[in-house]
Each structure stands twice: as structure tokens, then as C-alpha cells.
């Protein structure tokens, strides 16, 4: 998967209409000035009484390269530094105060929305990492984004409230454990549906291959239709390993044909090699000894 860089290394908070850039120097200055502006920060606390708060950083979603339907640029709020106990539901609850929300997406780190793959049942998706994450909140209207950005820092968002307690620690683990006891029939269903799907895909592919093969065959008049063909569909399935093996075989063959110690120069050569080998070993050993001596490894006690 190619990862497209979405953000500049330093997140530039360019205010609109601030200064007119005339010369290169000015532009450089401008970018320095930009850093003056603190990113919009929203404090987030676990409970009302928590002694300390984490800082959420919010900003409208901006990408230079790619636009996707799932994250429309004007309506998506990008949130950084979301603590591990904030699930998508919690985030939804906290940010709905700025406007109605279309979707919430949590990610380990800023990344592209993933292409839709065959939907896996939740029993087979690998466990998500529970660290600090980034979020993409899509509002139904662009006003939600501005409202969120305008939220004052000193009014913290509260994760766990009386009405909506968030389970952490022991309670959460007990909950997790009981969730992990999936009844076998539910699991079986998930397996069956996936395998049916898989078989279908396989069949389709086989069908397609068959068709291609048919097209490659001669017709009654002996003509073959020449096509570009699908990528990767070669007559002979080849792999790196097979290539290597073939090369090796070739090498062995030539080696077998060689005569050893047949000519006198060969004999001389092998003797020379032997002495060189001994010398090399000697030099290596000398080096090792020098090293050990430096480390005082010869003091017996």
C-alpha cells in the first residue's frame, strides 16, 4: 500500500488574508509567523473531577493530493491526540454538541481512508491498538467544523459522566472477557458467510481465466486473437524462487564439467590458496588477540 503524505511535517496554520506575500523573503517570514498561532485546543478530562486534562487539537481536514467521498473537505473535522479510553461512540457523544454528525472514524495515525475490502466479521478482525489516536469527524454541515474550532479551551469535554459512564480498568476487562466468549454457532455463521463469498469469488475468477484461455486458442481457421491480456497472466506461472533454482542448476552443471587438479597450474593454485587461507586466519587471530589484550582478557585472575 502506498502511503501518501497528507500533512506537511510542520502543521502550518495559515490564516487567511494575513499579509500579502511579495518576495520570497516575505514568504519565508510568513511561514515563521504562522507558527505563532496556537492550534485550536480543546481540553478533555476523564471525569469532572479529574485533576489533569489532555489536549485535543482540532482542525478542518485538508488534503492536497486526494479527495475521497468519505471525508469531504469542508465538513470533516480532524482531531489529534485522542486518549485511549475515547471510543468512536464517546467521540460522537462529545462532538455532537457542535452539530449533527454523519460519521466518526478513529485511526492509529493520520492515514487515507481504506478501500472497501470484503467485509470481515468482527471475530476475525485483528485487535485494534489501544493507544492515543486521531479521529475524522464528518459533520452533516460545514458549520459543525467551525463550531468545534471555536470551542473555548477552558471548558473541558468530559469523557465519563453520570449518564454515560465509560468503563475502564477491571470493569472493562471483565466486559471484554465476557464479550470474547462468542457462541460457536455465531462464529460458524461468520465462517460460512465468508467462505461462501470466497468460493463465489474464486469461481468468478476461474470463469474469467477460462474465458481468457479460450480466447488464446486457435479458431477453426487457425487464427489466434492477439490481446494485451490481463496483467500478470502469463503462460508459465513463474516465481522468484523458481528462477533462482534454475540459475543454481545451471551453475552446478558448469562446475561439474570443470576438472580439478588436472593441470599443474591448478595444483599450484590450490596450494597457493591454502597458504593464503592459513595466512588470513593468522591475521584474523592476531586481530582477535589484540582486541582481547586491549580488554585485559588474559588476566587469569
Amino acid at each position: 500500500m502506498t502511503c501518501i503524505k497528507m500533512w506537511d511535517d510542520n502543521w502550518s496554520w495559515t490564516p487567511l488574508g494575513h499579509g500579502v506575500c511579495v518576495s520570497l523573503k516575505h514568504i519565508r517570514n510568513a511561514s515563521v509567523i504562522c507558527d505563532d498561532f496556537a492550534p485550536p485546543v480543546i481540553d478533555i478530562k476523564f471525569t469532572q473531577n479529574s485533576p489533569a486534562a489532555h489536549q485535543l487539537l482540532v482542525k478542518e481536514h485538508k488534503v492536497r493530493v486526494e479527495k475521497t467521498a468519505s471525508r469531504p473537505l469542508d465538513r470533516t473535522l480532524f482531531v489529534l491526540n485522542i486518549p485511549p479510553y475515547c471510543t468512536e461512540d464517546v467521540l460522537n457523544r462529545l462532538f455532537v454538541q457542535f452539530g449533527p454528525i454523519e460519521s466518526v472514524e478513529l485511526k492509529d495515525k493520520p492515514s487515507n481512508p481504506e478501500p472497501a475490502e470484503p467485509k470481515l466479521s468482527k471475530h476475525f478482525t485483528p485487535k485494534q491498538k489501544q493507544g492515543f489516536s486521531v479521529g475524522y469527524i464528518v459533520y452533516t454541515k460545514p458549520s459543525g467544523v467551525t463550531a468545534a474550532k471555536a470551542h473555548p479551551q477552558n471548558v473541558p469535554l468530559i469523557v465519563s459522566t453520570e449518564e454515560h459512564p465509560v468503563k475502564t480498568g477491571l470493569q472493562k476487562w471483565i466486559h471484554q472477557y465476557s464479550r470474547s466468549l462468542v457462541p460457536p454457532d455465531v462464529l460458524q455463521q461468520a465462517v460460512d458467510s465468508f467462505m461462501n463469498d470466497y468460493d463465489q469469488r474464486k469461481e468468478e475468477e476461474a470463469e474469467r481465466k477460462k474465458k481468457e484461455a479460450e480466447e488464446q486458442e486457435e479458431d477453426e481457421e487457425g487464427w489466434v486473437k492477439v490481446t494485451k491480456g490481463a496483467k500478470g497472466a502469463k503462460a508459465r506461472p513463474h516465481s522468484e524462487a523458481a528462477d533462482k533454482k534454475a540459475l543454481e542448476k545451471e551453475g552446478k552443471k558448469t562446475k561439474r564439467k570443470e576438472l580439478v587438479n588436472f593441470y599443474s597450474w591448478q595444483h599450484r593454485q590450490s596450494q597457493r590458496e591454502h597458504i593464503a587461507e592459513l595466512r588470513k586466519k593468522f591475521e584474523e587471530d592476531k586481530q582477535k588477540i589484540a582486541l582481547l589484550r586491549a580488554q585485559r582478557k588474559f588476566r587469569p585472575y
Binding site: H54, G169, P183, I289
Partner: protein
């Protein structure tokens, strides 16, 4: 936010720093040098790199000399390395010219001083009033003595011993100076009743008195030659700073022709019983018994000059003589054989080489290397206790014959004069030890895969780390009564009242008889030569340090608690009964025989290993009146750290065996399953419990359902909120390989689903046929069987390959390694293989498992559990058993554990790979291969590199951890633990707590998270368990069927995972997985400096705007609060130790 300046080294790593600070607290000045060299600056200095020699150099025409040299090294040594190593070693021990000058000048001064000793008037021998300051270095028992004495300047002063011979070595250079007592001070009849010896001692005291007033002497002490109290010597050191490195020993000797050697024949008596006892009436037993040891002591004083002459002649003949003796001395010293009473010292070693040369067993032209090897070979193959050797060419007619010597002494090696036995004081057991060591050494030498140099000459072999069990005899005065009980009066007289040396041979043979086949070897420490200042009286015998004995156990015969004797009617039965006393009883055996037998109480393997203790206590009490309170047995002191249940006193072997049996049963049942779409091709264990190395082996449990919630559909148990955390049930992992078939899909996701389908199917069948509660999931299947939980994982052997396959854009099938495939391979292939291999090792070495468990317990307790995985730790221990050089494979957990610590702390992890030759699959060529591969790519390989036959290039078990810093810390802590433990185990004065080595120092960490013991399921097995343990809803025992219990639910490990996932970038988390109630947190060094604002590095940090820059720093208050939020219910309190860092 800043670290306090004092704590922040300019470029140092945090861990590094903490290692060193810990160091200086713990042990002051000890080995910090090596650690420092590892800091970044010099990180490349001490590394072996592949060598580049130009082709021109390699292929130039050789000179004949070079050719010879190369050929010699090729044929004589495994490689030139050994030869060079020996040369380097010799350079280290040889005395420098500067030192020689110092010696010569000091000797000159002292000689002058000695010649100026003033004469004193003649006094009675028993009158010592003429000495004002110096005391007489002699235990005057009995007090009365006839004869006269006066001081006179010595007849001559001459150098003798190793210094003039040129075989004197560092360290502790001691130079012998012989002072000849003038002939008119002594009388030819003085040989009788210690008169000569007393005069000799008085003469020394007179010299000491004279030297006391001199400024040329630094310190002055008495000692005695090889622990023989009849031969005191005077130790002098030069004044000033040279004092520590040089000792001058002054021997007083009679003129060489003072007594006729024939008079001192070993069968003659020179100490009269009536004098010794003070009773006039002669003993009824006829003439007085011979006093061979006394005689040889007196005779020994006559011969030093002659011996030196003889050895010098030999030395001049053979060029390599000096080097050979030096090597032998190093070898003996490493084995603690060169000091004390009955030692095999440098002098005997020189005589041995001389014997080999003069008897033409070796040639004068051999190199030191060859001579040394031949000497070891000779020692290994010749039994001097049976067939003594003699250096005398044509002894005169009065000289005793070899059989005379054999009847008087245990070990016989006769000097060139033919009258003196050089090994008179040596016990047969010491010689057996030498033989054992020599044959081991020869064996190591012959093994080309081994670093013989290291094993033979560089590794010290202290008693405690060499022998499986060690015991000490405290309260040596008890030996006095032992001599009486054993009826050793004449021997006591022969040894002039030294009851320790008198009783020792008999005790040894007694124990040898009793221990019989249970041991390979019984050795004892040599009673050291005491040293005391000249102004105080000599030490009493009982004031000597305790005697230590070492046992090398024979694991084959260790397992039986029964000692089967001869049949009741055989004549040997009486002997057997005499040996065992009341413990011997008649027993009838299953084969119908009725024999004498002794049964020891031992129900578990742990207690069976300690049967020798019972035997020793019993025999010593019965035959020598030595009560068990005087025997400090060090063999199982460490066992209680790994004891599974207090009441049964077993160290887990029995529990592990039960687990393995249960697993075998399960595996058989799996094999027999029918109705599976594909057949099972193999069932393999992949869990430490299945190779006997699990620290806390799973114990069958029976659950009380009241303390649990229930899952609604399956009625499986669930942990209940508010109750203590339920008992931890270890899932024992079993890999079940399914047959390869075309039916398997060629797609990673599909394979995963098929495996899940198999889990479901297996669960169904197991439930139906055997009524085991099962729970299938996508990744595994949990089976509850006889109170144990097994986690079966179905595997398909081609899956890793499928995971690695990648289709390039042009249709080429590529193989690319990835983490997922590696992890799967690790689980299904490497770990199963390792488990079965180590299971095999356990069958060969019954204490392998126990050593592993001690080692892992230690690693866990010192908070290294996350840095050295269990498999790697097991491999390290396997190395001890497969490559035990310079020792033999350990047969007790204690010695194995000590050697583990020694290996961890002394191995050169930086420059060498640790090769564990499992099943001896690696050949010499493979070894070289591994070493070359290692040297070629050292930088990219793991810090701790362990190679096995199936993993030669990668070291898979240590690929991710430990890091350089953690390994360094591990090395330091291991060295410290070893130091503490050895000190405790060898210190007889008081019993101490060996658990000290299992309590980690917590002061180096930045934050401590204390956990509520109630919610830590394994707290009952902690190193220091709490006094009260709440009920966790389970008791031991097993009932078939029932419902699925709570398996693998450990809040602590879940908490640690969350912590590491959230804060792993900024801190390290340490915890003892075996019941620890503290999580220690260490900030990473790069956490605190402010970073420029980036989206990628924002986690748990806060924004700080300073001047015109936006930077981020860790939000420490919030993080600390998160520690308690994430561990809600489990965390008791979070203690930031802000004395180390400031917010």
C-alpha cells in the same frame, strides 16, 4: 519540563545512567569500566570486524620460516588463536624485570640483616623469656620439652624454590629464602619428640625479634608451609607501596647433612607416646606406632637445596620447562588446588614435569603447549594412590620401597633422593579431584568446538559453583572428639595434635562409603595456611575457617530413596549394619529377596536430591559424634524460591509431570478423533509447562461456582466485579497440525476462516466424545480437561508461506518476509520444536527444569521478564547443560542457577555468539560458519545472539529484546546477584535470606504503580507472598466435566498491554509476572526535551507556545492520571518519584 541537571549526562542514555548509578550504590568501585566503554562514543572500538587483507599480501611467496610456522600451527593447534592466547597468558603471569630488581634488592637487604642476628645465651628449650616482643610460632602441646637453645647468626642464607628456578608467577609473588640453622644450635637427637621442630620455630622467632627493630621490613607475619604447623615460616613484605605485591618467605632449615635420611624412614617412630600423652607407663599396644608424616616433615627441611639443584638441571635441559610450570600453576590455581594443606603446589608441579622429562615420557624439545597437555594427560591416566611414581634413579639401600610409602601415605610421589614423599599430606580425595579435573581438561581440549583456553586456564572454579552440593563443617573442635571416637590416637600423634588433618581422611572415606553411587566425586577444600602477626600467639586449630566439602552428584542413582544392601545372610551384612547403625533394617523386596536396606524419607524429587544430606548427617553423628548442627549443608537453600506448595515441599517436578501426562492423554485422544474433514498430522506442545520449565507449573483446580458470574448461553464462568480476581488458569498451548491438502485455500484470510471452522468442529467432537467443556474462537480452542486448560491452535504448514507471497506488478511471485508470517512461524514451528527438544533435555538431566525455573523466577523478580523471553532464558540454561565447560553438567538447581548468573554476567555478548548445540547437530564447520556470519554482520544482529542448529543466522528468540541498555543492566544485576548469593551460601557464620537476590531495587525507577494485591491473581506465588490470601474461587483437585472456567484472565497483563500501547513511546514498564504487585515505570531519555510540533508525535503531549515557536512536551500530569484511569480497580496508587525528575 526538565530533568535535574545532576541526573542528566550530556549524551547518556537514561538506562545507562540508571545502571551506573545503581552500580555505585550497590558495590562501590567494582566493574564499571567495561560498561562505560559501551557508551556511544566508543561503540565501535571493541568490536571484531571482518578483516580485509589485500590479495597481494595473501598471495606473496612464502618464506620457508613462515611456511613452517603456518604448518605447525595448523597441525598442533586447532587454530593459531590458542597458541597466541597462551603466549599472551604467559606474558601476563611472568614477573617483570622491574619486579625482579625489587626482589633482588630486598633479598639483599634482608640477607644482610639476617647475618647480623645477635647471639644469645643458652637457655632451656621451654624457656621463651628471652623473646621480648615476638611470639613463638608453634603450638606447644605438650608443654614439656628437653634440650637447650640459643640464637646464633645463620650458617648461610640462600634463595630456594620457584624464584631462582624461574617459575615464579604473578600474582602474589612469593620468594623463598632458606636460612640454615648453625649446626651447634641443634643436636642429632633432636629429631625425637618435636625437639627439632621447636628449635626451628624458636630460631624463626629469634629472627623475627631481630627484624622487628628494622626499618627495611614492611609487615611481618608468621604462617606455615602448606598448613603444616610443624613448619612455620616468616612472611616479610617490603615497606611502602610495593608491600602488597611481594612476599618473602623465610624458611629455617638444618644443614643438609644434619640427619641421616634413613633415620626418618616412614616406618620409624620419632614421637614417643609417653612424652606425647604425658603418661609414663608405656601403652599396652607394644612398641610405638610409626610416625610417617612427622618424619617426612623433618626430612623435608633437609632437601630444598638438593631439589633446587635437581630442578635447575632439568630446566637447563628443556627450553619450555618454565612456561609449562607456569601454565600448570595457573591451571591449579583456577581449581583452588595450589594452596593449603595437602595441596598440589607449584613445587610438586615442577617435580611432575621433571618426572615426565627424566623418565622420557616427553621430549626436551617439545613446546610448553605439548608438555602441559602431556602433564594433564599423565595426571588423568595415572593413579598415584595405587601406583606411586619415583624420581629416584638408584636410591640407596636405606631408602624405603614404594610399597613402604603406599602403606604410610595415601598418595605417593617420591623425590630424587628416594626418601621423601612429596605428596605426603595429600588425601586420596584431593588426588581424585586432580585426576577428575585433568581428564575433564583433556576432554575439553580435544573438543574442537570448544574454547579450550577459556575453559582450562581462564575460568576460576570456586567450590560453590563447581559442585552440586556443598557442605561445611563448622565448629571444628568437634573433630577432636571425632578423633577419639574413630580411635585415631597414633595418627593424632603423627600429626602432632592437628586433629583436623588427622580426622579428614577417615571422614572422607566414611562418607565415600555411605554416599556410594549417589556421587561421582567427593572433594574437600584444603585447610588453608593460617597467617598471624609475629607478636601474637599462633591460631588454635579450632579457630581455622570451616572445612568445605563438595559433592558431584550422580543423577542416575539420585532418584532412589532406598539404599539396598547385601542379602541378610551374606557376610557383608554385618559390615552394612555397622555402617548404617540403627537405620539398617531387613526388608523384603518384590523379587523375593530379603536384604539389608536403609530407607530415607523423600517423597518428592526435591527431597530426593537432598538424601545425601540425610546420609551425611546420619553418618557423621553415628561414627564421629558430629551433630547435624555442625554441618551446614548448602544444596537446597534456593529451592524454596520455586516451591509450588508449602506442605508437599516439592519444587514443581511432580506438578509438571502431571501436566505432561495430562497433555499426553489429550494428544492421544486428538489423534484418535474421527469425523474430521482432514486428518491431524501432528500434535505438539508449545508451552514451557510441557518441557518442565514453567516457573509456576499449572496445578489442577476445582472451582466453586458461587464466586463467579455466568455467561447466559454456555453457562461458562465469568469474573465477578467486586470480588477478588479469580484464580489464574494458564492456558497450555498445543499446536495441532492438519494434513496438507488441495482443499486448503491459497489465501491468507480464507485459511484463517477454515482454521476457525476446524476449531468449532474439534470442540464439537471433543464435547461429544469426551465431555470436555470447550470454547472455540477464531484463533484457538480452549479445552478444560481434568482441572487444566489447554489452548489448541490448528495450524497449516503452508500458511506462513502464503502470508509471505506477494505478486509483483509484472506477475512474478515474490517471497517477502513480514512480521505476521514470522510470528506465526514462531508459534507453530520454532516453539514446538524447542519445546520437544528441551523436553528431551529434561529427560537426560533431571534438574534442567528446576534450573530454568529458578533462572526465570530471577529474571521475573528482577523485572526483566519482558526483556528476555522465556524461550531465550530456557536456551541459556540449556547451554549450561550442553556446554558445561569448565565444569560438568549441573545436577542440582542451586549450582545450575549460580552458573546461569555467571554465564549471563560474564559472557562476551558483544563479540561472540552463544551457540547452543541442541541434539549435537552442529559440526565444527557449522560453528565456524556461525562465528563468521556473526562477525560479518554484527551490527545488524540482536544484542544477545543465541544460535541453535535450526536458527544459525538470526537468533529469533532475542530479535526484539533485550536492547543494549537492558542487556547491560541485566549483566550488572546478574553479577551483583551472583556476588550476594555466593557470599551468603559460603558464609557459615549465620544463615541469611537468599531471597535478597530476588528482590529488585526499585529506587532507579521514575514512577511506581502499586497494584491492589486482591486483584493480582498470582500474588500468592510471589517471592514474598502476603500473609493472608483471599479466596479466588478455586481449590486444588480436579473433577471431570463441569463448565468452562475463566481461562487466561490476568488483569495485570491486560493493564500492562494497555499501558505499553498507549505510552510505549515515552516510557518503559517493568513488572514481575510471577505475583509482583508493583509496576515500575522509567521515562525514555528522549521523552522530555520539547519537540517541534508534528502531527505524528502528538500522542499524550501538550502544546507549548514559546516566543514564536510551537513545540510539544509530554502532558505528565494527565499521563499520571491516565495510569490510574486505565487501571481502574486494579491500581492502588501511583507514586511519581519526582526526586529524580521535575515537571
Amino acid at each position: 519540563m526538565k530533568r535535574k541537571a545532576a541526573e542528566t549526562p550530556a549524551d547518556g542514555d537514561k538506562e545507562m545512567q540508571s545502571t551506573e548509578s545503581k552500580h555505585s550504590q550497590d558495590e562501590g568501585e567494582r566493574p564499571t569500566k567495561e560498561l562505560k566503554s559501551d557508551s556511544k562514543k566508543s561503540s565501535n572500538a571493541g568490536l571484531v570486524r571482518p578483516l580485509k587483507v589485500s590479495n597481494k599480501e595473501l598471495y606473496k611467496a612464502p618464506t620457508p620460516e613462515e611456511l613452517n610456522q603456518l604448518k605447525e600451527t595448523e597441525s598442533l593447534f586447532h587454530c593459531s588463536l590458542l597458541k597466541m592466547q597462551m603466549e599472551e597468558l604467559l606474558k601476563e603471569v611472568v614477573i617483570s624485570e622491574k619486579k625482579k630488581r625489587l626482589v633482588d634488592s630486598f633479598v639483599l637487604k634482608i640477607t644482610e640483616l639476617l647475618h647480623s642476628v645477635p647471639e644469645t645465651p643458652v637457655v632451656e628449650l621451654s624457656d621463651t623469656t628471652w623473646l621480648s616482643k615476638a611470639e613463638v610460632p608453634f603450638i606447644l602441646m605438650p608443654k614439656s620439652a628437653k634440650g637447650k637453645f640459643h640464637m646464633e647468626p645463620p650458617a648461610s642464607v640462600a634463595l630456594i624454590g620457584s624464584y631462582p628456578l624461574g617459575t615464579c608467577t604473578k600474582p602474589r609473588v612469593s620468594v623463598d629464602l632458606m636460612v640454615t640453622i648453625p649446626a651447634n644450635v641443634i643436636h642429632p637427637m633432636d629429631a625425637i619428640n618435636q625437639r627439632y621442630s621447636r628449635k626451628r620455630a624458636l630460631y624463626l622467632a629469634g629472627l623475627a625479634e631481630h627484624l622487628l627493630s628494622s626499618k627495611e621490613v614492611g609487615t611481618m607475619q608468621y604462617s606455615c608451609l602448606h598448613g603444616n604447623r610443624l613448619r612455620p615460616v616468616l612472611l616479610l613484605t617490603p615497606p611502602g607501596k610495593d608491600g602488597g605485591s611481594l612476599t618473602l618467605r623465610i624458611h629455617a632449615c638444618p644443614p643438609p647433612d644434619f640427619l641421616k635420611p634413613g633415620q626418618l624412614h616412614p616406618q620409624k617412630n620419632k614421637i614417643r607416646t609417653d612424652w606425647f600423652t604425658g603418661i609414663d607407663a608405656p601403652q599396652p599396644g607394644g612398641p610405638d606406632a610409626p610416625t610417617p608424616h612427622y618424619n617426612s616433615t623433618v626430612l623435608g627441611d633437609h632437601l630444598p637445596g638438593a631439589h633446587l639443584q635437581f630442578l635447575c638441571a632439568v630446566r637447563d635441559q628443556c627450553g619450555a620447562f618454565k612456561d609449562t610450570v607456569a601454565l600448570l600453576k595457573v591451571w591449579l590455581r583456577q581449581r583452588e588446588l595450589d594452596q593449603g594443606s595437602g595441596c598440589f603446589g607449584g613445587f610438586v608441579a615442577s617435580m611432575l614435569v621433571a618426572y615426565l622429562l627424566t623418565s622420557h615420557k616427553v621430549s626436551n624439545h617439545m613446546s610448553a603447549y605439548q608438555l602441559f597437555r602431556n602433564a594433564l594427560h599423565f595426571l588423568a591416566s595415572t593413579d598415584l594412590t595405587e601406583n606411586g611414581i619415583t624420581l629416584a634413579r638408584n636410591p640407596d639401600s636405606t631408602a624405603p620401597s614404594l610399597s613402604d610409602f603406599h602403606s604410610a601415605f595415601q598418595v605417593v610421589f617420591v623425590d630424587p633422593s628416594g626418601h621423601l614423599n612429596l605428596c605426603a599430606d595429600m588425601t586420596a580425595h584431593t588426588y581424585k579431584q586432580i585426576q577428575h579435573e585433568a581428564s575433564l581438561s583433556v576432554q575439553f581440549w580435544d573438543d574442537p568446538t570448544m574454547d579450550g583456553f577459556q575453559a582450562l586456564l581462564m575460568s576460576p572454579k570456586p567450590l560453590i559453583r563447581t559442585y552440586d552440593h556443598v557442605f561445611q563443617l563448622c565448629g571444628l573442635s568437634k573433630l577432636q572428639s571425632a578423633c577419639k571416637k574413630l580411635n585415631l590416637f597414633s595418627e593424632l600423634m603423627d600429626h602432632s595434635g592437628n586433629y583436623i588433618i588427622t580426622a579428614l581422611p577417615l571422614l572422607l572415606s566414611l562418607l565415600q562409603r555411605g554416599l556410594g553411587e549417589r556421587i561421582h566425586l567427593l572433594v574437600h577444600s584444603l585447610p588453608p595456611s593460617p597467617e598471624w602477626p609475629v607478636t601474637s600467639e599462633p591460631l588454635k586449630h579450632k579457630e581455622q575457617p570451616p572445612l568445605s566439602f563438595g559433592l558431584l552428584l550422580n543423577p542416575e542413582h539420585l532418584a532412589s530413596a532406598l539404599e539396598k544392601g547385601p542379602p541378610a545372610d551374606s557376610p557383608k551384612a554385618a559390615e552394612f549394619r555397622q555402617l548404617w547403625g540403627e537405620r539398617a533394617e531387613l526388608r523384603r523386596f518384590q523379587d523375593g529377596s530379603i536384604t539389608e536396606a536403609v530407607l530415607w524419607e523423600a517423597s518428592t524429587a526435591c527431597l530426593k536430591r537432598l538424601v545425601p544430606q540425610q546420609i551425611i548427617n546420619h553418618l557423621l553423628q553415628l561414627h564421629a559424634d558430629i551433630p547435624p548442627s555442625c554441618v551446614r549443608y548448602v544444596g537446597g537453600l534456593l529451592d524454596n524460591v520455586i516451591i509450588v506448595r508449602e506442605e508437599s515441599c516439592g519444587t514443581g517436578e511432580e506438578e509438571s509431570l502431571k501436566v505432561v501426562q495430562c497433555y499426553d492423554d489429550l494428544s492421544r485422544k486428538l489423534w484418535q478423533l474421527e469425523d474430521l474433514p482432514l486428518s491431524i498430522t501432528s500434535v505438539q506442545g508449545a508451552h514451557p509447562a510441557l518441557r518442565y520449565t514453567q516457573v509456576l507449573p499449572p496445578v489442577p483446580f476445582k472451582l466453586s461456582y458461587k464466586q463467579f458470574d455466568r455467561e447466559k448461553r454456555s453457562r461458562a464462568l465469568l469474573p465477578q466485579d467486586g470480588n477478588p480476581c479469580p484464580v489464574y488458569i494458564t492456558p497450555i498451548k498445543v499446536i495441532c497440525h492438519m494434513e496438507g491438502s488441495g482443499k486448503w485455500p491459497h489465501d491468507a484470510l480464507a485459511i484463517r476462516h477454515i482454521k476457525a471452522a476446524f476449531h468449532i468442529r474439534l470442540a464439537e467432537i471433543l464435547k461429544n466424545t469426551h465431555n470436555y467443556p470447550c470454547h472455540p474462537s477464531a484463533t484457538h480452542l480452549d479445552v478444560w480437561k481434568d482441572g487444566l486448560a489447554f489452548r489448541i491452535q490448528v495450524a497449516y504448514h503452508r500458511e506462513p508461506q502464503v502470508l509471505r507471497e506477494l505478486l509483483s506488478p509484472d506477475g512474478m511471485l515474490l517471497m517477502r518476509d513480514n512480521l505476521q508470517a514470522q510470528a506465526l512461524e514462531m508459534d507453530t514451528q520454532h516453539r514446538t520444536l524447542l519445546t520437544s527438544t528441551l523436553h528431551g533435555l529434561q529427560q537426560q538431566h533431571p534438574c534442567f527444569g528446576a534450573v530454568c525455573r529458578l533462572a526465570k523466577r530471577w529474571l521475573g523478580a528482577q523485572l526483566f521478564g519482558a526483556d528476555l523471553c522465556e524461550d531465550a532464558a530456557d536456551l541459556l540454561v540449556a547451554h549450561l547443560f550442553l556446554h558445561p565447560a569448565p565444569n560438568t553438567a549441573p545436577s542440582s538447581p542451586q549450582v545450575g542457577f549460580l552458573r546461569f548468573l555467571h554465564l549471563l554476567s560474564s559472557f562476551d555478548w558483544r563479540n561472540s555468539p552463544l551457540v547452543v548445540n541442541l541434539n549435537s547437530q552442529l559440526t565444527v564447520a557449522d560453528y565456524t560458519d556461525i562465528k563468521n556470519g556473526f562477525a560479518a554482520s554484527r551490527e545488524s544482529l540482536p544484542t544477545m545472539f543465541i544460535a541453535t542448529p535450526t536458527d544459525r543466522k538470526q537468533s529469533i528468540w532475542t530479535r526484539d529484546a533485550p536492547s543494549v541498555q537492558m542487556l547491560q543492566r541485566m549483566v550488572t544485576v546478574a553479577a551483583e546477584s551472583l556476588h550476594v548469593l555466593e557470599a551468603q551460601l559460603t558464609d557459615a557464620t549465620h544463615t541469611q535470606d537468599v531471597r535478597v537476590a530476588f528482590r529488585p531495587p526499585l529506587d532507579v525507577y521514575d514512577v511506581l504503580i502499586y497494584l491492589r494485591p486482591k486483584q493480582v491473581p498470582l500474588v500468592g506465588s510471589a517471592v514474598d507472598p502476603p500473609s493472608h490470601e483471599p479466596s479466588r474461587g478455586a481449590q486444588e483437585g480436579a473433577i471431570p466435566g463441569g463448565v468452562l472456567p475463566v481461562i487466561d484472565f490476568n488483569p495485570v497483563s491486560l493493564y500492562l498491554t494497555e499501558l505499553r500501547e498507549a505510552f510505549g513511546d515515552m516510557a518503559l514498564f517493568f513488572h514481575d509476572p510471577y505475583g509482583g504487585t508493583v509496576i515500575a515505570v522509567l521515562w525514555k531519555p528522549n521523552t522530555f526535551p520539547p519537540l517541534r510540533f508534528k502531527t505524528g508525535t502528538m500522542a499524550a503531549r501538550r502544546v507549548e507556545v514559546c516566543e514564536d515557536k510551537v513545540s510539544t512536551v509530554p502532558n505528565v500530569e494527565a499521563i499520571l492520571h491516565d495510569f490510574s484511569v486505565l487501571g481502574e480497580g486494579l491500581v492502588e496508587r501511583v507514586v511519581p518519584r519526582t526526586e529524580k525528575w521535575v515537571v
